[in-house]
């Protein structure tokens, strides 16, 4: 773990070095400008409630993602536990895939 901290330290020094060099070498001051809008000035701030059209996909994703957490330890013990572990896991995955199939039929993955 000490080596990892050392690496993070090296990166911190490196990034600080880049910013310091930039501060010395670049023109003084920070130029203010509008965001790029093809040459127009913005009428409203871009930070807004974004219309996330793939909302349904996020929900299906969450279901699977929770499942993944169980799959990591499962992968380690399959050889010990034997066939039952495989059957149980893939029965569970099969159920989830039925959910995916339903979501697909409902057009959740065609969000454009």
């Amino acid at each position: 773990m000490g080596a990892v901290l050392w690496l993070v330290g090296v990166l911190a020094v490196g990034v600080a070095g880049v910013y310091a060099a930039s501060a010395v070498l670049s023109p003084r001051g920070v130029a203010g400008s509008g965001p790029f809008l093809s040459g127009a000035w913005p009428r409203e701030h871009a930070m807004s409630r974004f219309h996330v059209r793939w909302y349904a996909v996020t929900l299906v994703f969450l279901a699977f993602d929770m499942e993944m957490v169980f799959m990591y330890p499962w992968a380690v013990v399959v050889a010990e536990v034997g066939a039952m572990a495989v059957v149980e896991m893939f029965a569970f995955l099969g159920l989830l895939l039925v959910g995916v199939l339903y979501a697909w039929r409902e057009g959740a993955f065609r969000w454009a």
């Binding site: 993070v8 793939w54 697909w104």
Partner: protein, 300 residues
Amino acid sequence: MDEGTGAAAVSLVVSLAVLAYGAAALDAGLGGARGAAGAPLREAARLLVQGRRRTLVPDTLLVRTGTVLLPLAALLAATVLPAGDRPVLDSGVGIVWFNAMEVCVWGALWLVGWGVNSVYPLIGGYRFLAQGLSYELPHMFALITVALGAGSLRIADVVAAQREVWFVVWMPVAFVVYLVSALAMAFWGPMGEPVGRNVAGGVPAELSGADRLVFAAGRYALLVVVAAAAVPLFLGGGAGPVLPGWAWTAVKTVAVLGGLVLVGQRVPAVRMDRFTEFAWVVLIPLTLLQTLVVAIVVLP
């Protein structure tokens, strides 16, 4: 830290820097620049003398956090990969660690995209989230297949398990899926829509100077790390005749990295409104099938 770990840490930093520079130079060369070997240096010089700028009421803290998080995530993900003859962090859950660090990129890109208060970076940031929802599950199934084949989440065990047969031989689907998700993780080439030209450069569109330099370096570091991870996971790590282990690791890493950079110039961008369906309906069942095959093989 003991001497071996220290050497691994130094070798990790050096090889990451060298490979990231090489990838940038190769990309510049393929992109038609003459004098490509010096192109990344010139670009770095250009960004160092370039003036700093800020858009209208940005959230600077978020932007800086996201920008620095990019190289940090790449570096931390790399700690579990063998640099030289051993990894810096010989963790028993190395694969999970790699996965966790790589997911930090989701946050990094979204923070930058949101924080600069400009519409194109905002769209880029959300594009990456949609991309994450598409590539992440096939990617994780590919990683789990590897762990299943080795019976361990420790990367050194994964390498040891490939002494007889490389995983790429009997897990070809997982390998291909891994490469696709590697492109997506590093938002590179065909998976580069979050930084696409059609949204004026996307997430980093409003970054200049040091910010842009750190962002670009982080992206190349990320590309190197995802390419390097393919070697211990699928390509037998340092295994090979004649040459020492570290040399084989280097050769294989350069080959995978070169392939990813080449694909970046050769393949059009993939939009998530079409890829999402493909990922969920084709890639996920396919990788699960691969996992099932491997699970049956490893049964006693």
